[in-house]
Amino acid sequence: MTKTAAARSVYALPRVSWRWLPMWQRNFMVWKKYLGERILGNVADPLITLVAFGYGLGSLLPTIDGLPYILFLAGGSVCMSTMNSAKFESLWGAFTRMHAQRTWDAILNAPLSIDDILLGELLWSAAKATFTGICILAVVWALNISRQPASLLVIPILILIGMTFSAMALVCNALAQGYDFFTYYFTLVVTPMTFLSGVFFPIKAMPGWLQVIAKALPLSAAINLIRPLVLGRIPLAPIRDFGILLAYLGVSFYLATVLTRRRLSK
């Protein structure tokens, strides 16, 4: 019993199998039904931010590192929108399916496990977030803010960024007792991170100690990778930044798996 008990322990590493696919397909099927609303919601907000801040505020600002403000903002906007899309899907979306609709309960009666469901949710959320990031990138091209072929390299990186922020949100999801709980995550994690990570202004504009914190944040790492590519340049420290994203992804997904097992395996 002890051997099998250890293998089934809530602290075991996530067990990966292709059974995540039907969970992913289920979410994709729902998403297709509300395509219009979803695209509008995904794209309109970040588009307004980009245009209003970029052109409006940008016209009052000097260049940043030799870049017009809207060009500086473009890469950050792509990352921020990707993060927000992943966060939204892995909080409201996943929590509704887990708690309000009990869709996960229904699926657990089929031959899927909690690990399969979480992986399906993670990859679904990443797919949706990537789609959002691509939409913003398309706007950057369409408005002729930047049209660098190198920016196509952004797309595979967006998948990793989406997975990272989805995994972090799934930790919060596993702990939430209601939708109001998400406020903690927004106020204490997402909002400070958005302002510290160099979306709207360069990190080096902040005091030294804050820069140390800022550089360790996953959104900073994402922006360090994406912003140069959008401008047609090569990221300065890709290994460090990929490492940061992968570390947040790995730790968060493990934590989300353990916490969700503890929550649902009662």
């Binding site: 099927m29 609709q101 009990r102 869709t103 229904a106 009666n109 089929a110 031959p111 009662k266």
Partner: protein, 306 residues
């Protein structure tokens, strides 16, 4: 002897030090309908969850269709259909889509599911509701769709957790009729209920759980014969208590009281009936055979549980 579908031995489970299932032993044969009865909090739903491998036991063993659970719970679930206590249909999908999407969780292709749809919808009497949204269905329709959804993988064994709670009589009878059809097809049913008429109608055998312990097991008729006097007289009315006190000398009669109703359990109701007809006491009465509800109340007591 038919093969055993569910074999539970010395099963223990507690939550936070509080025992929920204690030393449970059960064997359910293939093709039978086995009922798990008990008041709220008796451990019925926990037993089902343990059988599905959704939670791990603290001790004992579970074998479903020859597969050890929870170690091979995933393989066991391939052969099981589940109708949970609360409807958890997918509100974003239509009736047909709910079945197709659920089939996919069992690895059944959408094309195969589409071929099987007419049969499943006919079974659930939902042929006309194929493209309806879940929100448009009545409680009975939702329940029938839950039952059809539990059949997408053509299971050998079906778990039903309080399948007719909250339904009106017509809807309940339709569900019972469908469950009998499934039994006729040779499927094994394992259900929990606290409706005694449901258990009496459907179950070949049943076990009564109280506080996580099995306190009785057998066929409904045998259990009643074993634990309860065959005849019951229910006496109601404002003088019922008075009547009981005045007739405490009735031979071989056991009295129970619930509110202002007196239950007289006896092997021979004639003397009591004679006195009831004779007297001018302001009471009404009902003479009936003992049923599962009498058994249930005798074994688990009349006081409220939650």
């Amino acid at each position: 002897m038919r093969p055993i579908m569910i074999d539970i031995q010395d099963l223990d489970k507690s939550y936070g030090g509080l025992p929920v299932v204690r030393g449970l032993n059960l064997a359910v044969n293939q093709g039978e309908c086995f009922g798990l009865l008990g008041p709220n909090g008796a451990g019925k739903t926990t037993t089902l969850r343990l059988c599905l491998g959704l939670t791990d036991p603290d001790g004992g063993s579970i074998t479903i269709a020859g597969l050890p659970v929870p170690i091979q719970a995933r393989e066991a679930r391939v052969r099981i259909g589940v109708v949970p206590q609360m409807d958890n249909l997918d509100p974003d999908f239509t009736v047909a889509e709910n079945l197709i999407v659920y089939g996919r969780y069992f690895g059944i292709s959408a094309a195969t599911m589409r071929r099987r749809l007419p049969e499943l919808l006919a079974f659930a009497s939902l042929g006309a509701k194929r493209d309806a949204k879940i929100g448009e269905l009545s409680g009975g329709m939702k329940r029938r769709l839950m039952l059809a959804r539990a059949l997408v993988n053509d299971p050998d064994l079906i778990f039903l957790d309080e399948p007719t709670t909250g339904l009106d009589p017509q809807a309940r009878h339709l569900i019972w009729e469908r469950l009998k059809l499934l039994l006729g097809q040779g499927k094994t049913l394992f259900l929990t209920t606290h409706f005694m008429d449901e258990a009496e109608r459907l179950c070949d055998r049943l076990a009564v759980l109280d506080d996580g312990v099995k306190i009785a097991e057998g066929t409904p008729r045998a259990l009643i014969a074993e634990h309860i006097e065959p005849e019951v007289i229910e006496v109601y009315g404002e003088d019922a208590l008075h009547w009981r006190n005045a007739n405490a000398d009735l031979p071989d009669t056991r009295f129970e009281q619930s509110g202002e109703t007196i239950f007289a359990y006896t092997h021979n109701a004639i003397p009591a009936l004679a006195r009831l007809k004779d007297r001018k006491a302001r009471v009404r009465y009902l003479h009936r055979p003992a049923n599962l509800e009498d058994l249930f109340l005798k074994l688990t007591g009349r006081e409220m549980r939650d």
